[in-house]
Amino acid sequence: MKLESKIPEGPIAEKWTKHKFNLKLVNPANKRKYDVIVVGTGLAGASAAASLGELGYNVKAFCFQDSPRRAHSIAAQGGINAAKNYQNDGDSIFRLFYDTIKGGDYRAREGNVFRLAEVSVSIIDQCVAQGVPFAREYGGLLANRSFGGAQVSRTFYARGQTGQQLLLGAYSALNRQIANGKVKMYNRTEMLDVVVVDGKARGIITRDLVTGKIEAHSAHAVLLCTGGYGNVFYLSTNAKGSNVTAAWRAHKKGAFFGNPCFTQIHPTCIPVSGDHQSKLTLMSESLRNDGRVWVPKAAMKGLKAKEAVNIKEEDRDYFLERRYPSFGNLVPRDVASRNAKYVCDEGRGVGPTGLAVFLDFADAIKRDGRKVIEQKYGNLFDMYMQITGDNPYEVPMMIFPAVHYTMGGLWVDYNLMTTVPGLYALGEANFSDHGANRLGASALMQGLADGYFVVPYTIGDYLATIGWTDKVSTDHPAFKQAIEEVNGRVNRLMSIKGSKPVDQFHRELGLTMWEYCGMSRSEEGLKKAKKKIQDLRAEFWTNVNILGSANELNPELEKAGRVADFLELGELMVDDALNRAESCGGHFREESATPDGEAMRKDDEYAYVAAWEYTGDNQPEVLHKEELKFENVKLTQRSYK
Amino acid sequence: MKWFIDLFTSTLGRKALMALTGLFLVLFLAVHLAGNLQLLKDDGGRAFNIYAEFMSTNPLIQTVSKGNFAFILLHIAMSVYLTIKNRQARGPEGYAITSGKSSAWTSRNMGILGTLVLVFLVIHLKDFYGQMHFGQMEIVEYEGESYRNIYATVSYWFDKEWYVAVYVFCMAAVGFHLWHGFTSAFQTLGWSHPKYNPVINFVGKAFAVVVPALFALIPIWMYLN
C-alpha cells in the first residue's frame, strides 16, 4: 500500500484554501442522515464533536472519565500559540510555520504545519467568543507572552490553566450540542475496538465501565481523539487513565502508526520520591528563565536540598551554562533533559534516588528580590512545596525530566484520515504536526485546530463521497464478531488469576522503556528492551491478577486492558527507535552524535515519516516510508552552543 | 403567573422569602426595642403604658402587626420546608464524621436557634401580647385618659428569677440567630459588593450583639430594682 499524504499542489499559503474549495460538500438537508462517532473529549474530541453537531451531523461522543470535562487537555498549563501578531513584534503565519517545522527538527509535513499556523488565528477568536477568560492587558485587549524560547510573543494564556479554560470552552460548546440533541454523550465508556467492514471504518465496540456491558455503535465515520501514549513509560505527566487502547485497536485493524518512538521529555518535573510514585508532576518550563540548573562537581549521592545551600560556588557545576554558553539554562527541552540524564549517569545526581538536579533561584532572589520571584512563580513554588515539603525560596528545587507528550501517533493524511477510510485521528492521537519535537504551547493549538477547523471540512468530503446509505448496522456479522472478540479478550484477562497486580507489570514496562527507549537510545539497549518487553508481555498473559468481575465497575480490569496494549506498543516504539539510526528532536540515538555528544540528524537517510503496518500477532510490523519534502524551509542542524 | 410560582418554589426563591421576612423581623426587633427601652424610665411605667396602648389600638400598627405574624409564620414554614429538603438532599446515608472546621457553628444551627426563638416567642406572646389583648388588665389613669397597665404585668414576670434567666438565655439565642441571619439575608438576596460588604458585616454583627443585649438588660435591670 502506498502512503498518500494528499497534500494539495500549489504554493504553501494557498494549499488549504484551495483544498477546502476542492472538498466535496454534504447538502445541509442530508447532514442529519449521517452518524459520526467521536472517541475522547479532550480539546480535539470536544471541539470536533461540538462543531460536527453544529453542522447537523448526528454525533455520538465517548469518554472513559466520569465527565467529558476531565480529559487530560485540562492539565496543560502554559498557553496556546497563535500567529495573531497582536504585539507587532514580527510574528506571522509563516514565522509560526517556520518555527514549528524547525522546532520539530524537520520531521513534520510542511503542508500540515502551515495549515496549523494558518488556522491558529481563528482558534483564539473562537475561544474568546465562547467566553474563555484569557489574560488581558489594562486596556482590555488580550495579553501575550513569549514561551519556550520563542523570539516573538504569540502565546495566549489564562493564568497557569490555559488547557483547563480552553477545554471548558470546548466542553461548553459540546454541552450545547448535547442539550440540542445533536450529540449523544457516553460517559465512563471506553472504546475497545473499531469495526471495519469492506475496508471502511463502520463503528466501534465499547465497554460501559459501570455495568461492564459490551456494546456496538455504528456510524459513517469514526474520529479518534484519544490523546497520546506517554503512559507506556508508566511514570509520565499524563493522567493515570491516559492510554493507547483506542489508537492501538485501530492500528491492529489497519491504521498505520506514525513515528511511534518520538517522545517528548520535559526537563522540569518533580523527581520521583520512591517506589510508590504513580505519576510525575510538571512544572512550567518558564522556571528556567530565572532558575539555574546545577549539580555538585563531585558525586554526592543523597545530597539534600537543605545541604546544597552550603556547597561552595566553585564546587558547583552549572552544566547547561557551561556547555551552552549562549543559550544557557534556556536550551530546548530535549537538550536540557538529556544533559540532566548525563550528569546523573555520571553519578552526580542529587536527592535520595540520585536522579535529580538542582534548579536554584538563590541568585534570582538576590537579584530581583523575593517579591518579584513570588509574583512570577508563586503558584509553582507553592505546588512544589506541597508535593515535596521543601521551600524553594530557601533551598534549591530538585527537578528531573519526565515523559510529557508523544509526537508519534496514528498516521494520517492531510484530511486527518488514517489508512483506514472513514477512520480519523485528531490531536495528540495523530502523528502529524510536531515532527520529532513539539514546541511549547503548540499542543493546545493543534488539538483545537484539528477539531474546530480541519475535520469539519475534511470529513464532509468523505461522507459526501460514500453517501448516507453506505452505513452498516450493528446487526452486521462483523459487529457481532467484534463484540465476541472483545468479550473474549475481557474474559481471558479475568481468567488468568495469576499473582501479580496490573500496576506491577506496568511499572516494569515503564522502567524498561525509560531505561532503553527514553532520553537516550542505543542499538544495544533497544535490542535488550525488545526482548524484555516480549518476556514481560508473555508473563502478563499468564500471571496478572484481576479481582472482582467483568460486569461491574472494575478499575483493575480497565488498567489491565490498557497495559496489555502498552505491552504491544512498547515493542513497536523500540522497533521504530531501532530503525531510526539518527538523532532528531526528542529521539537521540547514541550512535548518531557529533564528537562533543550533540545530536546529529541524517537528512539523506531519515527525512521520512516511519509509518508502521500491523500484520498479525507476534509478526514483525512492516515499515512504510512517507518522504518529507521541504520546499519552503532550509534544513539546518540545530545548535545552541 | 407561572413565573411567579416558579420563582417562589425554587430554592433561590424560597431562600429569598426567608431573607425578606427575616429582614422585616429585624426591623420589627428594632422598633420593639425602642418601645421596651421605656421600661427603663423611672416613671412607674407611665411612658411604657402609653406606648403600649398606642401600639395595640392604632389601626395602622395593628395591620403591620398582623403582617408581622404572617411573616413569622412564613419564615417558619419556609425554614421547615427547606430543612426537610436539605436533609433529603444529603441522600440516604449521612457522613460518619464531619469535622465542622469549615463553617461557623451559628450558621449550621440556625434551625436549633430558630426553634429556641420560637419557644420564647410562644411564652412571650402568651404572657404579654395575650395578656394585653385578651386578658384581664388593671386600668391606670394618666391625665384623665385610662390605660391598661401592662407595666404591672411586665414587673410581675420580671420579678421572678427563673423568668429573667429564661428571657436572657433566649435573647442569647436571638443574638446568635441574628449573628448569622442578618448578613446571610443580604447574601441570599444578592446584595453583595466588595465595597459595602464590610459595612453590612459590621452592622449585622453589631445589631446581633447590641439589640439582644439591650433586650436582655431590661429584665435584669427591672429585677435588680
Binding site: 477568536d125 461548553s172 442539550a179 493522567a239 520520591s273 | 446571610s184
Partner: protein
Amino acid sequence: MKITLKIWRQKGTNDKGSFKTYKMDHASPDMSFLEMLDVLNNDLVRKGEEPVAFDHDCREGICGMCSLYINGRPHGPLQTTTCQLHMRSFSDGETITIEPWRAKAFPIIKDLVVDRTAFDRIQQAGGYVSVNTGGVPDANEIPVPKKIADEAMDAAQCIGCGACVAACKNASAMLFVSAKVSQFALLPQGQPERMERAEKMVARMDAEGFGACTNTRACEAECPKGIKITNIARMNREYFAAMLTNYEVEAGAGGD
C-alpha cells in the same frame, strides 16, 4: 509510618455499604494520599481481596475527578484536591476515615466512586455561550477590562469536583452553579443569554435534588480552587433579575 484506614465499601448503587478497617504499616510521608491507596490496593490484590474503587485521573489537581471525604472534610485537611494531599499531613498511628461524597444527586456507584453527571446536566442547561464554530468576531474586537477578565477567571477555575456539595450540610451545588453563571455574567460574550442562563441552570440544579444554600460558607472554605461565595450572591442577583424581568418574545413565523 503506620496508619489505620476506615474505608466505606459498597458493592453497587443499591447495595448496603459499611466501613471496613485496614492496617497499613509501610506508608511513607512523601506519598500522595492516592498513592497510599494504590499501595493498599496492590496489597489487597496480592492477598486476593478486591481493591477499593476510587475516582482519580490527572493527579495534579486540575481534572476534578478525585474526591474522597477524609476525616470529615472533602479532599482532607488541606484546601486542595485529594491527589495533591500528601501523607505528611497525617501523623504516625492516625486512624483515617474515608467516605464517598454524600448527596442524593451523587449516587454511589461503588465504594468511594460517585456519579456526578448531575453537574454535566446543569452545564448542559445553559453553561455555554451559543456560538457556532467559525464566523466569530476578531478576539480583540471587544475589549474586556482586565479586572472583569480576572474576576471571570477566578470563577472559571472551578474544576467541578463536587467538594462544595460534599462540604455543604445541605448538599447544595450553588457554588458550582454560580461559578459558571458568574463567569458568563461578567464577560461581554455572556450577555445575550445572561437571563435565560441563570433561569435554566438554577431550575436544573433544583431538579437534580441539590439542597438550598444556607450561607454556612463551608463550600468556600473547602473549595480546592478557592471559588468565593460572592459568586453565589451574583447568581442570586442574576436569577431574581431574570425571573422578575425576563419575558418571552414571540417571533413572527415565516420569512423564507
